[in-house]
């Protein structure tokens, strides 16, 4: 039978390394830029280590880190002109011999990333926490420090807006299975 022992207390740095890929995914979704996302995660790591004494053993470390990432990101948004977020334009190189289906799949995923960036920050956060990272509504509400009902509302608006943007742009005309073919 699999082990049933409880996880021992693990150093914060080890827990940080274990959760880095998910933090990068979360930050990438928030910022829309690979470089900005990694800067954000680096800042979050540095903050976490200086505030390690604030982490409560027995609570979810990943939720604590998501909250730190989100807080730093929101602070960054407020400190600059947020009317026109600077987004790294990642040109999509298309090979001349690339199958049409593969190109369409990559276009669909590109459209999704653009649609995500166009969502308001609070909706983007709810979408990333629940739909991408699989947190429950309650867990996402704790990260965002809002009531569960607020998360439900933001998430629904985000999902509806995302679906509408993709439908308008033709992204959903390419099936999900085509997009996964990338």
């Amino acid at each position: 039978m699999p082990p049933g022992f409880r996880a021992m207390s693990v150093p914060v740095s080890d827990q940080l390394i274990a959760v880095l890929p998910r933090l990068r995914r979360f930050a990438r979704g928030l910022t829309g830029s690979a470089a900005d996302a990694d800067d954000l995660v680096q800042a979050a790591c540095e903050r976490a280590l200086t505030r390690a004494h604030q982490f409560q053993e027995g609570t979810r470390f990943d939720s604590w880190m998501f909250r730190i990432v989100q807080t730093i990101w929101i602070d960054q948004l407020r400190s600059r002109d947020t009317r026109r977020e600077e987004v790294e334009e990642q040109g999509m190189h298309v090979g001349t011999d690339e199958p049409v289906r593969r190109i369409e799949a990559r276009l669909a995923l590109q459209e999704v990333r653009i649609a995500l960036r166009e969502l308001p920050p609070e909706q983007r956060t709810a979408l990333l926490l629940v739909t991408v990272d699989g947190l429950s509504y309650k867990e996402a509400a704790e990260v965002a420090e809002v009531p569960v009902g607020t998360i439900m509302s933001r998430l629904a608006r985000a999902r509806i807006a995302l679906q509408a943007k993709l439908a308008a742009g033709g992204g959903l005309r390419r099936s999900a299975s085509d997009a996964k073919a990338e």
Binding site: A18, R28, V41
Partner: protein, 266 residues
């Protein structure tokens, strides 16, 4: 009940409603084609979103982030590159390998740009693999992946059913993997548990996690290819672990890290 709002429909799709409300919405979906279409579109766009971001999970973690996680804030790109050039790769089986995931991650970090991703990879001798055990784990994985309803290969404990009291189930939902159930097997004469996870991203799953008791000594993580599937395995404190699936080794490494953390299996 009134026709479900978008908010209730999304909550239904996310499994966040009480059973009674779920049943009512399910009835609505049965009789309302437009509502079914809306639910399908919402599900599809959610799957596309996850696919669009899942690639980040397979990227090597930049050294500067690993350094930041370890509290090494003095390193610059130049400094880290210099450190990388003078560091030697550790051999598998070195007990210091187990000195925490931070140390292990730093080893993998220094191999960025080596041309084999961010793993130490094949330039170190692989530990002696329990070939027969891994073959069996692979066979069982393929057996259940390729099974259809007529094969009646059910779970001993399906998702949602009560697991044994001391059973620590790895939560892989953040990786887009949904637990489906457990099957109890006998591999090489010893009991093993096969945990089966599925995902809507065919490049990442399905994934089998096999855990079994063993009397063999600890062995550092290693990986092999068995036919069409990749197998990532390690042994620690009397248990053998294997991840079996078609996802690439980078992704399996990240999954292994998380499972090891959850089960204190490293």
């Amino acid at each position: 009940m009134q026709k479900p709002s978008d908010e209730r429909l999304v909550a239904y799709l996310d499994g966040e409603l009480a059973e009674s409300e779920r049943a009512e919405i399910a009835l609505w979906l049965e009789r309302d084609e437009a509502l079914r279409e809306r639910a399908a579109q919402l599900t599809e766009s959610a799957a596309l979103l996850r696919s669009a971001l899942d690639e980040v999970l397979r990227e090597p973690v930049p050294e500067r982030l690993i350094a930041a996680a370890r509290g090494d804030t003095t390193g610059t790109v130049t400094d880290l590159a210099a450190a990388r050039a003078t560091r030697t790769a550790r051999r598998f089986g070195d007990r210091r390998w187990w000195a925490g995931m931070a140390a292990a991650a730093s080893i993998f970090g220094i191999m960025v740009g080596s041309g084999i991703g961010y793993f130490v990879g094949n330039d170190s001798p692989s530990p002696p693999a329990a070939a027969a055990w891994l073959d069996s784990a692979t066979v069982y994985h393929n057996l259940y992946v390729n099974a259809d309803a007529d094969d009646h290969l059910g779970f001993d404990v399906a998702a949602g059913q009560k697991l044994p009291q001391n059973f620590r189930l790895p939560n892989l939902k953040p990786w887009g993997l949904d637990f489906q159930g457990v099957r109890y097997l006998i591999i090489e004469g010893r009991p093993a548990a096969q945990l089966f996870y599925t995902t809507d991203n065919k490049t990442l799953g399905p994934l089998t996690v096999v855990v079994a008791q063993t009397s063999k000594p600890d062995v550092a993580p290693a990986w092999e290819k068995h036919g069409d599937v990749n197998v990532f395995y390690w042994r620690h404190r009397g248990h053998a672990y294997a991840l079996v699936g078609t996802a690439d080794f980078g992704y399996l490494w990240n999954i292994h890290n998380d499972i090891a953390y959850q089960l204190d299996a490293i």
